[in-house]
Symmetry: C2
Subunit: 218 residues, 2 copies
Amino acid sequence: MKDKAVSKPVISRLPRYYRYLGDLLDNDVQRISSSELAKLMNLTASQIRQDLSTFGNFGVQGYGYSIEHLYNTVKELLGLDTMTKIAVIGVGNLGLSLLNYPSFLNRGFEFVMAFDSDKEKIGTEINGIMVKDVAELPLFLSYNDVDIVAITTPKDAAKDLVKKISVSNVRGIWNFTNSDLEAPAKIYVENVFLTDSLMKLSFQINQKEILENFSKKK
Amino acid sequence: MKDKAVSKPVISRLPRYYRYLGDLLDNDVQRISSSELAKLMNLTASQIRQDLSTFGNFGVQGYGYSIEHLYNTVKELLGLDTMTKIAVIGVGNLGLSLLNYPSFLNRGFEFVMAFDSDKEKIGTEINGIMVKDVAELPLFLSYNDVDIVAITTPKDAAKDLVKKISVSNVRGIWNFTNSDLEAPAKIYVENVFLTDSLMKLSFQINQKEILENFSKKK
DNA sequence: TAGATTGTTAATCGATTAACAATC
DNA sequence: TAGATTGTTAATCGATTAACAATC
């Protein structure tokens, strides 16, 4: 184990490893070599060995990797062997998607409460999760352990929410507003920028035409 | 204008530039230097100048960049000055979020049709968009210009959908299933892996503890 | 033992940052 | 003109790929 912080590209690949290893496990495959896994995942064997060696020596020379062992290792690395508690703020369609997402629960995540400002929604229950008035958020956070807050409100509401979250024990914000949030360093912000994602796709499918247009004008 | 393909990191930053430039424009700022913009966006001035020079010379020495001009340039680069037509497959909460997302419409995107397999949903209308039987997808794609298909179905349904999409004129897939989709090279796949995103967040907030645990065991 | 495959060191590639001449 | 700031070339940094000794 090295002590330096793990590099971003490696972190980004971990969930993907987890998915592929899970599939292999489901198919009762026992072992896999870095080159077989590389072929499956469209990576190089070198990269896989480099990535894994960030965390330790999990392979066996001449044999490869035990899938079950590697799967459990990655699972643990991702913190999925302990329950992570999530509060959802904003119960619009996006908030509902999260609360109803079936695969979160059996992967170490648990929704503990939902919040909204809409009187119609407050007091209702979604998938077994209560919807509270967002005004009660600070009090709730001070009396309950919440690891992650998912923010699915309009972006104007977010700045004030971050302020309230910042004085709690929350360690992560899952940001669905389409704007960067400024949070203290102790809180990690993971962004899901749907509009950015769609624009990237738009760029990619138009790349040739767009760049041609551009050169003409120059 | 260089002719080589634009690098991935640059493409990823374009929507973010677009957001910040839009905000500046809304605040009636006329001009900005690379170092001011860098400060605002938490980048380096060097990087901004490098990024922009991928596409042309938009700045003026001693002055900086005209925000309006730069904004329009990025907008055009992202293909937002022409309408991009999107069909949504799967009208669960996630599909609903997309169809109701207010900011897509005034940004050059248009939903043309929604599809689902649920008899209850077929024939209904969401935000003015009809929901058709997914069985009619191939026919619809053959008679209508659709640029992007957003897939929000369970992942088991996706493989078959991709096959059908592959024989159409669709150029991009916006993939919300939590699995990699194999599509022909002519179709660009942009992934939104919500579970991966949450797992990354989980890793980050637990990084210290997790890595400590790991070193103990070794 | 022979063959396979790891973990790691070295080489390469690509992206970011720094420096500076060109020029508004 | 003097000051500011670009676009670009060069230097640095970091990530990926290749190579190979160690070893199951």
